[in-house]
């Protein structure tokens, strides 16, 4: 359970690198799978397209989701995850720069587990990513049979 993947859906390469560094610093060893847009994220989750040979029942322990993504945006990804029997209980944390009330509202309405604004300051950013990792990968006990 501790070594299931973390799916990071993020189009900004700087943020991908910073998230990787933050997890390393927090000693979170789970493999970080990166999807660079919403379409790629859905292909991975539903084991189709370039990820067709993946086992679709093997789900990531958590999805870190940016909202503004090329092709399929974060809200649509969230909607697709919650709309599918297989993926509906995967924890999804929105990790985005926007704290516009309508983004927050829409995300919760679509069933996000938590919504975190990416801080500009590096130390705060590392701290926030670590908290997410600690909570969802260590503290939180997932549903039986999800493993």
């Amino acid at each position: 359970m501790m070594h299931k993947e973390i799916l990071l859906v993020e189009d900004n390469p700087d943020d991908v690198e910073l998230t990787r560094i933050a997890f390393t610093q927090a000693k979170i060893a789970n493999k970080l799978v990166v999807a660079r847009d919403g379409a790629e994220a859905l292909d991975y989750l539903f084991a189709r397209g370039a990820h067709a040979d993946r086992d679709p029942t093997h789900l990531p322990s958590i999805v870190l989701l940016d909202l503004n993504l090329p092709k399929v945006d974060g809200r649509e990804v969230l909607q697709a995850i919650r709309g599918n029997e297989l993926t509906r209980s995967v924890p999804v944390v929105v990790l985005t720069t926007s704290i516009e009330p309508f983004d927050v509202e829409a995300s919760y309405a679509l069933g996000v587990n938590s919504y975190i604004q990416k801080p500009v300051d590096f130390e705060h950013f590392v701290w926030a990513v670590q908290q997410v990792g600690l909570y969802w990968l260590v503290l939180n006990h997932p549903r039986e049979g999800d493993d």
Binding site: N12, D14, D15, L18, I21, N68, T96, T97, S98, I99, E100, K118, P119, V120, D121, F122, E123, F125
Partner: protein, 394 residues
């Protein structure tokens, strides 16, 4: 009995004829077959026809082709006695083919025996009125169109502003995070191989990124202060000021501070926005008291009819009243960063919030003595306890 009564009909018709001939508006007599019997000079001028050309012809012949049926049935209904008096506007044709709009008043006249005798027709040329009416209508339509266009443009601008604010929040912050974070990582990993100047540069890069992040946050706050929907409910400013003061003290627990708030200052407005306004004002008062042994802030106020006057006074550095008008301009600062100045947006946000509440704000200061901000806001409606229906008068 009067003498005149011996020849009443003749004398009566004579008088009628003279009246008709001298009338300033078009008048005519129409027989029971609907033909012109007599027309006056004003009528001749109105249609460009001589009386001789008209007499004996059907009234409807003068009508504009499109109003022909309407004119014909209007006259017929009076002739048949269905309509006692007709009052209608129709189009007729001038000899030249020009359209003549006329207001027709038609009344049936009776002989001494009470039988229908002839019709008296008044025709008033209303082409001018119709034209001005139409011009007015056209003008109205143009105006309505322009207003709609203006509203659409405003709407588009507001959407654009929202999209812009969103763009700022998302797209400008991401590169800032990269600048700050990689500078931090570089500082951590390559610190040993950097000299003092190199480390100083990295610190400056990070400080600049932090300032810019705060600036973006303030711009977003200003934009939100302009566009968020506002509630209007009673808001206890005294309570909010106490709360804000406690927050400031929490952030700097070692700072000696005395924040004295008069109780019962209740405004009507949006609680979230009024809290933001007080946070900004008290934060300023706190910041500009940094060189004092103790922060002293007084919040006072009184109700004046349906208005609430509130003053927020500090004993800090103050500002030069010569620049008072620049105080509320965005990006305008009266102090240097070392003196505690922010990004110059805070008071612009305060002013925007006050204005959206239909209020006013001004400031007075004496350098070295402190500043006082005066607020004029709508007061909450007082609920008169005696007007409660369940209470009986003592």
């Amino acid at each position: 009995m009067f003498e005149d009564e011996s020849t009443p009909t003749h004398s009566h018709e004579d008088r009628s004829r003279r009246a008709i001939l001298s009338a300033g508006i078009g008048m005519a007599i129409v027989d029971m077959q609907g033909r012109w019997v007599e027309v006056n000079p004003a009528f001749e001028r109105m249609f460009g026809h001589q009386a001789a050309e008209l007499i004996g012809r059907a009234t409807a012949e003068l009508a504009h082709p499109e109003d022909l049926d309407a004119v014909r049935s209007a006259f017929e209904s009076v002739l048949k006695g269905e309509t006692p008096v007709l009052d209608a506007q129709h189009r007729y044709l001038h000899r030249t083919g020009a359209i003549v709009w006329a207001q027709a008043n038609v009344a049936m006249m009776h002989d001494d025996a009470g039988n229908p005798n002839y019709l008296i027709v008044h025709l008033r040329d209303i082409s001018g009125e119709r034209e001005s009416e139409q011009a007015l209508q056209a003008l109205n339509q143009t105006l309505q169109h322009r207003v709609a266009e203006g509203a659409a443009a405003l709407e588009a601008m507001s959407h654009q502003q929202e999209a812009f604010a969103y763009g700022i929040s998302h797209d400008l912050r991401a590169p800032l995070r990269a600048i700050d974070s990689f500078a931090a990582l570089l500082d951590r990993q390559a610190s040993a191989s950097l000299d003092e100047a190199g480390r100083d540069y990295l610190a400056r890069i990070r400080a600049a990124a932090t300032r810019m992040g705060e600036l973006i946050d303030s711009l977003l706050d200003l934009s939100r202060a302009n566009r968020t929907e506002m509630k209007s409910e009673p808001v206890d400013l005294s309570l909010l000021a106490e709360w804000t003061g406690a927050e400031l003290q929490d952030a700097e627990p070692d700072r000696a501070a005395e924040i004295d708030v008069a109780p019962g200052l209740v405004a009507a407005g949006d609680e979230r926005q009024l809290k933001q306004m007080l946070t900004q004002l008290l934060d300023n008062a706190w910041k500009f008291s940094r060189d004092r042994d103790r922060v002293r802030i007084e919040v006072r106020g009184e109700r004046d009819g349906d208005r609430l006057h509130v003053s927020i006074r500090d004993h800090g550095t103050g500002f030069d009243m010569r620049y008072a008008d620049k105080l509320f301009e965005p990006f305008h600062r009266l102090h240097r960063v070392e003196e505690g100045a922010g990004n110059g947006i805070g008071l612009a946000i305060v002013q925007r919030i006050v204005e959206r509440h239909g209020g006013r704000i001004r400031a007075e200061s004496e350098p070295g003595q402190g500043s006082t901000f005066y607020l004029d806001l709508p007061a909450a409606t007082i609920v008169d306890p005696e007007s409660k229906p369940d209470e009986t008068p003592a």
